[in-house]
């Protein structure tokens, strides 16, 4: 998310000034080589997983001769499937609640920015504090309220971790909105609720989608708080992967990772391509 505005701004910057292109020489060659090594370093581990997921052995191994889908079939086995469904359910619920809270807060603070800095800082705290410390706090809460190892307890922890990211997406959306929109609507006789529903909401709907997306991802990938607050009943997908990594390398992890890699890749390609078109269109 965070790179979205970056890319757009760059291309539109300094259109008038001449482009500086360093001449090709040994130093440049070395820096290219270094960058390719860096790309290799960043991508290699990800690329290795894909063939592993098609291995035909019971254990984790590269396919020799025949590729097989047995590790994908394993994902449909009850334990993995129930984890995937549990994670999906949690992520959707956290996404909805988080977006609603962030929308209300961002709307209110946009209309009445008096205590903006202090209130926003409070809400962003779970993002700044180390995750293990947050996990301790949420473990404490769960222990006091007897919510450890329940969907409600784990979901609440996810919500706390997701809220700052949700809020940032909403605040960015509102920072692009002109307050005159609100004034015009009110002076034309619309009440506050009507203005929020019919004027503000349609104008920040992209921000709401981003807000939901961020909260969804935060919950879907949450490990640390989940490790602290869950046990035998609640086993989210990341928790099951963690268990599989700790004790042996379960080949089903390769299959689920490959699926995640492809989903991420598709979303990224779409986003990067969309940026390019955004950049090309004037007025953006």
């Amino acid at each position: 998310m965070s790179t979205a505005p970056t890319v757009t701004k760059i291309a539109s910057q300094n259109p008038a000034s001449a482009k500086y292109v360093p001449r090709l020489d040994l130093a440049k060659l070395i820096s290219y080589l270094g960058m390719l090594l860096a790309a290799f370093f960043l991508l290699l581990p990800i690329l290795v997983i894909v063939p592993l997921s098609f291995g035909d052995q019971r254990f984790l191994a590269f396919p020799e001769g025949t590729w097989s889908l047995r590790h994908y079939a394993e994902l449909l086995n009850s334990a993995w499937l129930s984890s995937i469904l549990q994670s999906l359910g949690l992520a959707v619920a956290v996404g909805i609640v988080s977006t609603a809270l962030a929308f209300m807060f961002a709307t209110g603070i946009w209309l009445e920015p008096r205590y903006r800095t202090v209130l926003t800082t409070v809400v962003l705290l779970p993002m700044i504090v180390p995750q293990v410390v947050s996990a301790m706090s949420l473990y404490y809460l769960g222990a006091k309220l007897q919510l450890l190892d329940t969907l409600v307890g784990v979901g609440f922890g996810h919500l706390m971790m997701a809220l700052p990211y949700s809020l940032i997406a909403m605040l960015v959306a509102y920072s692009r909105l002109d307050i005159n929109l609100y004034k015009a609507s009110r002076s034309l006789g619309a009440g506050l609720w009507m203005t929020i529903r019919q004027v503000l909401m349609p104008n920040v709907r992209v921000g709401m989608a981003g807000s939901f997306f961020m909260a969804f991802i935060m919950s879907w990938e949450e490990v640390v708080v989940t490790l602290f607050t869950s046990g035998l009943n609640v086993v989210t997908l990341p928790k099951r992967i963690w268990d599989g990594l700790r004790y042996n390398l379960d080949p089903a992890i390769a299959a689920v990772s490959t699926l995640m890699i492809f989903i991420t890749l598709i979303i990224l390609l779409v986003r990067i391509y969309r940026h390019k078109t955004n950049v090309d269109s004037p007025g953006h």
């Binding site: 001449r23 960058m35 991508l43 009445e112 180390p130």
Partner: protein, 282 residues
Amino acid sequence: MRITFHGTLRIYALLILPLPAIIFVGYLLPTLGVLGWSFSLPEPGVQHYANIVDSATIHTVIWRTLRICLLTTLISVAIAYLIAYRWRFASGRGRQFIELFVLLPFWLSMLIRAFAWLVLLRNDGLINQSLMTLGIVDEPLALVRNELGALIGMVHFMVPYAVLPLLSSMRQIDDSLLKAASSLGAGRWATLKDVFLPLTLPGVAAASATVFVFSLGCFVTPALLGGGKAAMLAESVYIQMFQLSNWGLGAALSIVLMLMVAVSAVVFGKLVGFGRFTGRTV
């Protein structure tokens, strides 16, 4: 200026307050509870903090944490600088390629990345097998489930975080400055060293601060790739809580970790000067 009517303020409060309230009750109060645990479990007193000050084992953990974080910061910022530099001077297609290989790992779960590194680095992993087949080594190298493994995983995790602030500082540099330097007779190296590099220092500082502070709290990557032999502060909180059931010490360690993060954030802030992040325009 604002169009107000009776009771508007109360409605604003109704919109604004639920979110801070839920964070206060569900997050801040429990954090105070953890602070309480660190002074009260199993019995009241400051014994855990005295233990942290005295214990050689805990000192080892703290030094290891600082060492790994410092190395992670140096290596990932260096790699990220190179990537950002090439991005700065790349064409459209080149930029898209760079964005793709930086953002793909960035968006991928850290568990998946740790899994990938385990596959590559373990004794019968791809790297050791290749090295042994090529006859470069006889015994598999110990690449993972130790400090080296933790470091590799952390660098891999942090490079994208370091790239982003560097990109934003590099894209602010006007091409005409570099042109001017070279037309005044500065060679490529001099342009880089005396013009480009100084202008990107705020970005380097921001990237280092991000990576260092973030590394301090790292848990998942070092726990999986360090294999218990390279426990950092965050992992030792988990160990105290769930393997040794010493809730008081676990709580105290997490408070110490929070303080370390706060102190390094303040130090970095002072060192860099907050104004340089926001105020300077090139």
